[in-house]
């Protein structure tokens, strides 16, 4: 299957028009010894064969439609209303490019404007860009942005920020040589405010905090912002947009830059991507934002329309002086988030968040009641840490024997939590699944 429309007679006609006798003649500029190399690839398949083969590969994976799942750790299973994929499947959306020609792209531009507006509402901020790659790159871009704004270099980050986000932060900043200081967490699983105070100084560009943090615990953003602002640093808050259906927006608690992963808004797990990073800020920092922005304007007849705007921040205009190198973003994933938020609306998002909260707390109480298991940390949203009597690896293995996908093994990133499992419970887990998990844990002990 090749998707090529030309017949041999078409090609002949075209070559005649061009004035050459074969396509090879157009390629003579390629050094002869390198021209037409052999390509050792599997032979072409028909559509039927491709489907059969890929279905086979897909079926080798344990998909979570068929297994209760309690894994989160930055990638979340939430309900996706049918309307979301229905809209995404419209070719007019998914086969369009970046809306550089506004008269021919009002659909995408309007949807991004709606997306920006809703992310601003959720976070309590003034301005949001049109998307970044994922939560990790959003944290990294926010840190670079904070360094530009404050003209300082040092980045202070809480150790209970997602480990992968901290790793990406360190990758992104290695070329510029920005030093990173990590601060620990307290016995409640929250950032240790005393260490935060000690670590922040007049060299600090920002303090990066996750809320709820990687352990699922609720942080005190107001205290964090006060400590950051005292030394002239910015507070970067990394948040879960589902939690914002319930909890006070970080904008109200003094956050300067709000970032996060918005996969949970209408997007499948898809083995870790494509996901959706967002970055919101106050009006005063708008011109330091990386990535695209859509703004409202009017046409020559005064009718409302939307355009890409403030492009002088971007690489195609400013080149090495741009606020970031980002070009392609995650527009279609942002569209999914837009449709999701519109479908859930004010009441629905709150209900999703409350369901997560109640179910996670129910699960936590049940597990805490089991001999040998304990909950070391404090207030949480939809994820919580459980200390287990057997190694987390063994526990997960035994859960899988019962068809249950267990939690995240915290020993991977926190040696001191080698007996810790991070469980996630959402509206997707009915009570029977939670009860089955609790029974299974009781048996594995």
């Amino acid at each position: 299957m090749s998707y090529l429309p030309h017949t041999d007679s078409d090609r002949k006609r075209m070559l005649e028009a061009i004035g050459v006798d074969s396509i090879d003649r157009l390629l003579e500029v390629v050094p002869e010894e390198s021209r037409y190399p052999s390509l050792d690839l599997p032979p072409a398949l028909s559509e039927m064969e491709v489907v059969r083969f890929l279905r086979g590969l897909a079926e080798e994976n344990a998909d979570l439609d068929h297994h209760p799942c309690f894994l989160g750790a930055g990638a979340y299973r939430h309900f996706i209303p049918a309307v979301v994929d229905h809209v995404l499947r419209r070719g007019e959306f998914y086969t369009a490019y970046t809306p550089y020609q506004p008269e021919a792209s009002q659909g995408t531009l309007t949807a991004i404007y709606e997306y920006q507006s809703m992310i601003c509402d959720l976070t309590g901020m003034d301005v949001t860009n049109a998307s970044l790659y994922d939560g990790a790159s959003a944290v990294a871009e926010a840190a670079l942005m904070a360094a530009r704004i404050t003209r300082r270099e040092e980045l202070v980050v809480a150790r209970n920020v997602h480990p992968a986000y901290r790793q990406v932060l360190s990758t992104y900043t290695q070329g510029l040589g920005l030093p990173i200081r990590e601060v620990g967490y307290d016995h409640q699983g929250r950032m240790d405010l005393a260490s935060v105070r000690e670590s922040l100084s007049s060299d600090s560009a920002c303090l990066i905090v996750q809320h709820p943090n990687f352990f699922g615990c609720l942080e005190d953003l107001s205290a964090a912002s006060e400590l950051a602002h005292r030394v002239g640093a910015l507070l970067v808050a990394c948040v879960d947009p589902i939690a914002l259906g319930l909890f006070r927006p970080p904008g109200e608690e003094g956050a300067d830059l709000v970032v996060g992963e918005a996969q949970a808004l209408g997007n499948p797990l898809s083995f870790g991507g494509p996901y959706l990073g967002f970055l919101a800020c106050g009006q005063e920092y708008m011109r330091q934002l990386p990535g695209r922005l859509v703004g409202m304007t009017t046409d020559t007849q005064g009718r409302r329309g939307f355009v890409l705007t403030l492009q002088t921040r971007e690489q195609h205009i400013r080149r090495e002086k741009a606020t970031s190198n980002i070009c392609s973003n995650e527009a279609l994933v942002a569209l999914a988030a837009t449709v999701y938020l519109a479908a859930m609306g004010k009441q629905g998002l709150r209900q999703v968040a409350e369901l997560c909260f109640h179910k996670a707390h129910y699960a936590a109480r049940q597990i805490e009641g089991l001999p040998g298991f304990s909950l070391p940390f404090g207030e949480f949203f939809k994820e919580f840490v459980v200390k287990t009597p057997l190694s987390p690896r063994e526990v997960n293995g035994k859960l899988w024997e019962r068809g249950i996908v267990g939690g995240y093994d915290l020993g991977r990133d926190y040696p001191e939590l080698a007996d810790g499992l991070l469980f996630c419970v959402t509206e997707m887990n009915p009570k029977e699944e939670i009860d089955a998990l609790v029974r299974a844990l009781e048996e594995v002990r």
Binding site: M14, S131, A136, S170
Partner: protein
Amino acid sequence: MDEPLLFELSSPGRTGFSLPACDVPKTPLPEGRVRDDLSLPEVSERDLIKHFTRLSQLNFSVDTGFYPLGSCTMKYNPKVNEEMARLPGFAHIHPYQDEGLVQGALRLMYELQEYLAEIAGLPAVSLQPAAGAHGELTGMLMVRAYHQNRHDRERRVVLVPDSAHGTNPATAAMCGYRVMTIPSDGRGNIDADILRDRADESVAALMLTNPNTLGLFEERILEVAEIIHGLGALIYCDGANMNALLGIAKPGELGMDILHYNLHKTFATPHGGGGPGAGATAVREDLAPFLPLPLVARRETSEGTRYYLDYDRPLSIGKVGSFYGNFGVMVKAYAYIRSLGGDGLREVSEDAVLNANYLLSGLKGYYYLPYDRPCLHECVFSGRWQKEIGVRTLDIAKRLIDFGFHPPTIYFPLIVEEALMIEPTETESLETLEGFLAAMKEIAREAREEPDTLRSAPHKMPLSRLDEVTAARRPNLRWKGGFDKGGSFLLKFS
């Protein structure tokens, strides 16, 4: 455009969702943490679908028409690939599931790494970068790690031709490098003589696009590679234009050390209105240790072949994304490569080159052609003749919309005055190309005989030209209800 915004369709108490009742005992919500207000819109499912369907109809897209946007490779996106990415075994798996439970996904990634390595002629590949520019960042951080590992720390300069994509210098700057621009020569190549003259041992890398943004193959590429390698520096190849080279040439055999692909261009995955893309990055053997964490690897065990995520790579630059990259996009690219095979991919590039040269020869004489030689997958004209009679390239682009075509990329590359960068791709038929040529010729006539028709275009769209100056001067970047400029439009729809 008479479609109201979601916020204008909203009515208090209206809903478009249904969720199950809470089936567990409730827990008191934490005090002082709960928000008072959430101002998301409230719309019914029926209104929501009408809204987004109508919005979609305001877009140009590949599915609805010719989209010859240069450098973007807006080829047809096969529908079977969309279906494959949505299979539950791909769409509904968690990135932290035990490796034993995701062997099919890991195998797909492993094989895609291998295919992309073969096509590039570069043996090691990371699939983690989420887009082309992300691949550039990955590649340039590897350049840095490579030199550091050799204790070669004084290299502070990255060379970029003046025809380069803006992402190249922006990436180099993000990696802490100083950018030095190298001009192009009279035939549209990077000027190898100037390069030889200016480049010295402070250079870490040259970032080169080949074929370049003029759609021209770099005629002195082997010489350029010799100069750069002679200085101990590396060549980063921006693979945005790989649609020209599949089975035609392997960048690794032309001296390129690092190359990113845009799976969303070359391998037919859709652009999604600006993303998600995928920027798989390939490198030569001795750079492989620096690739991001993790790579997908394979080992033979007593139970057969096992695929796993290899984190044991101490020289790696580290992670560049939250998980393993845009897996959903990888599935589509994988399906595409398996559908075409090696011969099919070569035909893709051949027809892409044929189509671009057909447009090139058809428009010669109507528009100024700054570099008159056969192109590869795209051709770049200039609106200079039209500008002399008071019509700008922007006007030509807007007028094309009236003819039902998406405009080419305009005003890029920067080295061509009033540039029109046209990339037809291989999936467009002769009839489509002829329709486009006819429209471009008609527009050239209009420019001479009725220039106002162009200056006021487009005429057939729901909106006329938009005021971008005011948009930037008085930014309105979010809906703020009834009290801002946006709110005044409420009246129109009530």
